[in-house]
Subunit: 392 residues, 2 copies
């Protein structure tokens, strides 16, 4: 039987956390160390390290890796990596930290001490460095771009070094059963006898257009892994609790049992479009997925990226950069003339024949308790979303 795709870099998964039995002790020790505050994005990256989703990284990146990743998506050792993973600190604090000194990493929102980091390098990016990062990673330095804004807002000094997580915060408990780590998904896939698995990234409830994407994937892979963003959302997004239930209603009523697994992970969207599509694929490789569904404007925002930039970038990688492949699919919809679901690649009819409802319009209709056409959304899903809006 075929095997699952190997973790990124070809070695074992590298979850960067202390074993359970040492965590309490290490967390206590961390209290005595200098404290570096993490933004929600940095905390999210730390949780990704903890679960091995950023295998084979050892921690936050040093300058040379940062530069290589920004400029050419390559670490100094040649490893493919599309987006820099860095941690920033205030100058005074950074200056006070000695060589190889251990510091405690603290989630600034909750005040929780989450990890110990051995600081191996300190470097300033400056305005020029941040602009360089944005130009390469986001293809723009326009601060109206939410990902760019976060980079420009970073503290002045980047701290690099190995991390060891002592506390994964509220996620594992809050999203019990949904918060699956790469070791766990790989075991699940193997148990089902899957070797090819397509990941579907979502931060929204699923309507028929998303169901269609997932069902195309099921035709060419053993199963689909519906993988939700549990990190910070944009205002107006449906919260994970409701989204999960709505997605489960679709799975239970419209998918063959055993062909779909739903899970979530703690990433925070950067909206970096093509570069983010690549890191989404890399992360899914660690989870054991052979494919990532990449639709129109995957991980984009506003008009910063062309509709197919996130698909095309996969064709520009060097051999062996990334094992997980893009399953490229165009925009999906119900077409009345096709009398069924279709994509722009299979439907020759006009826009007027297609049932498409914008996100804003959907929210309005649901909030007003209106029904949404069954060509657009499953009634079981609509009911859950209507109820959510009724309780707002």
């Amino acid at each position: 039987m075929s095997e699952l795709v190997a973790p990124h870099g070809g070695g074992e998964l590298k979850p960067l956390h202390h074993p359970d039995f040492e965590r309490a002790e290490e967390a206590k020790r961390a209290e005595s160390l200098k404290k570096v505050q993490m933004t929600s994005k940095e905390t999210s990256d730390l949780l990704m390290f903890a679960m091995g989703a950023y295998t084979p990284l050892d921690g936050f990146m040093g300058r040379e890796d940062w530069h290589g990743v920004c400029a050419g998506m390559k670490m100094k050792d040649g490893l493919f990596w599309p987006i820099p993973i860095t941690l920033s600190a205030d100058k005074d604090l950074a200056d006070s930290i000695g060589e190889e000194e251990e510091v405690a990493l603290v989630d600034e929102e909750t005040g929780t001490v989450m990890a110990i980091m051995e600081v191996l390098e300190k470097y300033e990016l400056g305005e020029d460095g941040k602009t360089f990062e944005c130009q390469h990673v986001y293809r723009t330095s326009d601060t109206n771009h939410p990902g760019v804004q976060k980079v420009m807002d970073q503290r002045p000094v980047n701290l690099a070094g190995r991390v060891s997580v002592v506390n994964e915060g509220e996620y594992p408990e809050k999203y019990k059963g949904l918060y699956l780590r790469p070791t766990e998904t790989r075991a699940l896939f193997a148990e089902k006898g899957w070797s090819t698995v397509a990941a579907f990234q979502t931060r929204n409830p699923m309507h028929r257009s998303h169901e269609h994407l997932a069902k195309i994937a099921i035709e060419v892979c053993d199963g689909v892994f519906i993988h939700q963003v549990l990190g910070k959302l944009k205002p107006g997004d449906i919260p994970a609790e409701t989204r999960t239930v709505a997605i489960q209603a679709m799975i239970d009523n419209y998918f063959v049992p055993g062909t779909v697994i739903q899970a979530g992970y703690p990433i925070e969207m950067r909206y970096a479009g093509p570069r983010e599509a690549l890191i989404h694929a890399l992360i899914r490789q660690n989870y054991g997925c052979s494919h990532l569904i990449v639709g129109r404007d995957h991980a984009g925002v506003g008009d910063y990226y062309g509709a197919f930039d996130s698909q095309h970038i996969f064709d520009t990688l060097w051999d062996g950069a990334l094992e997980t492949k893009a399953l490229k699919i165009d925009i999906t919809f119900f077409c009345k003339k096709c009398y069924g679901m279709a994509t722009a690649k299979t439907c020759p009819h006009d826009k007027e024949d297609r049932v498409m409802i914008s996100g804003t319009k959907q929210r309005e209709m649901l909030a007003a308790g209106e029904d949404i056409p069954s060509e657009f959304s499953r009634p079981e899903v609509v009911k859950i979303l209507q109820e959510f809006y009724r309780n707002q």
Copy 2:
């Protein structure tokens, strides 16, 4: 840009026909040679040689190749080949042919001299040899199986040797524009910028279930090659002329322009199930197709093969045996609960929810001028088939 898949064996295409300007002269010369009559299956194989569809073979197989192909799908030089391609003759005639003597190959149905063959080997299969072939290739020696019947009916002595075709019969003229040779399809695919092409084998008009198969393929390949059997059909089959028009009506109304090419080829069905699925893929590799759509019971007949035997056999081949991959898809249908097209892999609902009409029932309905539900067939296609039956 990516390239089309290489012809089988990795070399150039090998069309086994005389250049046009020499054909008349060679055909005249053939008249003076001993004549070997070919059955319609043998004639069909000869036409496949002529167009290079059986690349890299040089002609009908000798005993060692025949044996290796039957037993292990391997020619004596190690080349993958799943079904023996042989020519048989009466004993008296065979005995009269000298070593390396040239003979004329004649289509027994039309009396046309079609090729010159240099006879390099003569060998008898006997009852045992034929049974051995059937057991391995057809997995049965039951003469109720139409493919087995043809093998058992072969004349006693197989003649092997290089062929050179001087006349391709009526096909090229009769199916002008449809009768495309591998060199021609490769040029067409390249012109469209396709590198991945899925072949869809059919000997019937296409209903929505077939459209769905083709549209799944379009999602994962650059285009679809609808490739019809122009060789002998089973009684009751719709003739190629009508079928072509019906398929074109579907393409014109329900596919995005430039995503589909319709063509036909002169193969005669053996109904060998899994082994035939493999030769269908091998042939499509020569045509430049990276994939062959393999549905339920592909190329099967009766209950001789399991529903998925023709899909599974692709997983048993050695590395490098065959470049063209199976695009494995389960049975397809419109499901009322899914409210759209689905496959047994994507639809969890009951049989009663599925719109499926047997071939016999379809013929009855069409012959009676009845409409067929638009969940099952496109009205543009139904109209053409109704008209055909009206004129019977």
